[in-house]
């Protein structure tokens, strides 16, 4: 399991994360929400070991997170791939280089679920749409059944129907394979519908961690209530009963 224990991260002179603690069990989904600049991307970078915490520790089953080979779905789909190589190369390089195992029908199933026709993988990133590139990013992350996946705004580049199908595919695979998913998103509707817990980040601190039900019905903090009400007003969330 993922354990983030009192982690602070400095970026230059300012402190980007202040004493963050959270945990995530296999098979569970934690959605991290918050406004731009709240520290969401810094949290992902710290979990991946790209930024060193100035205080605290981040572990997966007691070991550094990199030991579990976490998969990452990046926010910017175009920059998620080597532009000179085919998408197929990018999808399979983690499999072949990491000597990971892939079931025979997995590529076909994932492509079907993500609405990607197989020939698309022979193109380079510049020759597909942003939405297609985002779905190939999800394909790359899930192809070799990772134990832990970090999703950075996974659905932001997709249209509403594809968002729905992709979210369902991720949820189905998670049910079958039991990977832990940490999803950074602005989309409160997606977080409420698919996460087991929602962590709200504000100015580098966790404002509140709660289940979607509690977040919708009776958030403790003023900030969470404001977030919820704004999402309801925008139509991203159903009004609380």
């Amino acid at each position: 399991m993922l354990k983030v224990d009192h982690v602070s991260v400095k970026r230059g002179a300012s402190v980007a994360l202040k004493g963050i603690s959270l945990s995530l069990d296999p098979g569970k989904t934690l959605a991290v929400v918050g406004e731009s600049g709240a520290g969401k991307s810094t949290l992902i970078a710290a979990i991946l070991g790209l930024l060193k915490p100035s205080h605290g520790s981040i572990t997966w089953a007691g070991a550094p997170v990199r030991s579990c080979r976490p998969a990452l779905v990046m926010q910017e789909p175009r920059s998620a791939f080597n532009p000179a190589l085919s998408l197929r190369h990018s999808v399979f390089e983690t499999v072949t280089a990491g000597k990971l195992k892939v079931q025979d029908d997995r590529l076909e199933r994932l492509c079907r679920g993500l609405e990607l026709y197989p020939g698309l993988l022979d193109r380079r990133p510049s020759a597909v749409s942003i939405g297609q590139a985002q779905r190939v990013g999800i394909l790359r992350a899930l192809i070799a059944a990772p134990p832990f996946v970090l999703f950075d705004e996974p659905l932001s580049a997709l249209d509403a129907v594809t968002q729905k199908h992709t979210a369902k595919l991720i949820a189905d695979l998670q049910d079958e394979e039991g990977f832990a998913a940490l999803i950074v998103t602005h989309d409160l509707g997606y977080a409420v519908a698919h996460a087991d817990e929602i962590a709200v980040l504000k100015s580098g601190r966790i404002d509140e961690i709660s289940t979607p039900q509690v977040f919708m019905a009776s958030p403790k903090s003023e900030y969470c209530r404001t977030l919820r009400d704004a999402a309801v007003a925008l139509g991203a969330l159903e009004p609380p009963v």
Partner: protein, 312 residues
Amino acid sequence: MIASIVDLVLRALIVLAGTALATFALLWHAPGDPAQSIAMARFDALVTDEVIAIVREEVGLDVGFWSAFQSWVRPLLVFDFGNSSVTGREVLPDLLTAISYTVPLALVGLAIGLVVSIPLAFVATKRPGGWLDRLAVAIASLGAAIPAYWLGLLLILIFAVHLAWLPAMGARTPAHAVLPALTLGLGVAASLTRIIRSGILEARAQPFLPAIKRRGVSSKAIGRDHVVPHAAIPVLTVLGLEMAFLLEGAVMVEIIFGRPGLGTFLVTAIEARDFPQVQAVVILTALLFVTVNLVIDVIYRALDPRIGEQDA
């Protein structure tokens, strides 16, 4: 791929044709009477108008620009560079002798440049911003700021005059080539170090690398598939330009170190307005450039298939 190579070759031919025309036009229109210059180079004294007229007719300067250009360019198509206007000797054998001094010097200069710059750039990028990196950048900047003629004189002063380890002039033994090759090589090393260093740093900063690295792709595979091909493209571009610097530098270095070669050959030919000799050097140099750039373009396409494509 074949279509794009054919396209590159056609472009190369246009460059060569343009070079031939430009060289001939520049020599033709340069101030002063070319026939007089040739006559003076031949007879080494003040010459009469009759002699100049004979020379003008003999070397084909009396038929007008386009006719003279055509009569020079036609034999060139079968690599006949003609005879020197001054000595009457065939240009090609003398040119090949000059090249046999210059090309090895340029190649050794290039080798020194690569041997110095590649390890220096790799050491520098181990810890970007560290003291080794700053030192490497400082050395490279210093090297780029020093002109070849000054570095050459400095090396002569240190290694020939004060230490008396190496000869300063001539080309009789391999030891005579050390200082000229160092003069050329250190200049090349300076610019290559900077470009290899920045190429590696830029390639390592590609945003998709953390995702595949954390997923288990080894540093070796990342280096081979993502860093080296990305870093190699600007390095190749500069290497192509360095070929220009090497030949241009070799000409200057030969004169500083009193070595025979293309430098002396070219300077003597320009002073005498020896059209066939000057044109032969320029055409051969242009041919070399075009070939080097052609090879680099083909390597570009192998490293990054997007280059030269419609959707690139």
